[in-house]
Subunit: 153 residues, 2 copies
DNA sequence: CCGATAAACTTGAATCAGTCAAGTTTACGA
DNA sequence: TCGTAAACTTGACTGATTCAAGTTTATCGG
């Protein structure tokens, strides 16, 4: 059900990138499965592609990252996650326990928290807002069976 | 020049923690060297203490973290950093190139960006704001000798 | 359509921060 | 001053990510 405005192949070509089965599969799959880890992506597209190395997934994601076709989220202590939604300054809600991520629109309105009052000589290009907490599933799991987090989303 | 309000030993005892040479050294050193990595702390206090294992530094920092005596910052792609300033909702400016960190007071005023508009069933306990950019030193280094980041602060 | 070639992919080793585990030492209350 | 749990030492291990060398393939010029 990926309702792409532009076909994936065109998006790649528009940036001068080669169109490969791996790239197509990753981008298509990611559109339907936001906040996926490399592991998730690999599992997800291996079926559709027959097989693909994990390194290729890293390569594809890195290329798409640089081409601004995907965005990366790296929550401390959890593997990186990827999503197709880029450039709209939205933030993320991260579960401390399982690493699950949800999107959150900027609570203070677009770009309001993007400029620090004092930049210490830095050239700032991004403001990242991350809300940390425990998701519903993990809270339930914790009360039912204390001490066992059912980890990994 | 650590101008502690309360002596370090007392701060530890106040939380029911044992006062050890390692803990004292770490906390004292950290007061004068904010945003240090485990490596930095280890190097810094090894001299003052004669010797200490890196694992002990991890242990001390973990204990102090749980006792709220230090705060941890984990910038994506860089080793964790520690500081004594806690509980005042300040944010951080991180250099993409060398990982150097500077403090920034909340641009939108205390706690204004702490509550996401939709919590997706999460129990949110922290909002983390991280500004990413390139610090002055790395910008200079990049223009002088392109392609060589003089990394690691 | 066909080959050349640089980009993309495969495989497997390496790195790096951090964690685990078993044994020894030490702070501190009795 | 003694016993004990907490803290420290040493060294192995993990898991995500990166590096590197060799092979395959998309695309472009002919």
């Amino acid at each position: 059900m990926s309702r792409e405005v532009t076909p994936i192949a065109d998006q790649l070509r528009a940036r001068g990138m080669r169109v490969t089965a791996a790239r197509h599969a990753v981008l298509e799959w990611l559109a339907d499965n936001p906040h996926a880890t490399v592991e998730h992506v690999h599992d997800g597209i291996s079926q559709r592609l027959g097989s693909i190395s994990k390194q290729a997934v890293y390569d594809v994601l890195k290329a798409c990252l640089e081409a601004d076709l995907v965005q990366q989220i790296k929550p401390a202590g959890h593997p990186a996650r990827f999503e197709r939604r880029t450039g709209d300054n939205h933030h993320h809600l991260v579960c401390r326990s399982c690493g699950r991520i949800e999107d959150v629109d900027c609570a203070v309105g677009a770009r309001s928290c993007l400029n620090p009052d004092h930049d210490h000589g830095f050239e700032v290009d991004e403001a990242e807002v991350m809300y940390w907490g425990i998701c519903g599933a993990c809270r339930t799991a914790a009360t039912n069976a204390p001490g066992d987090d059912h980890s990994r989303q």
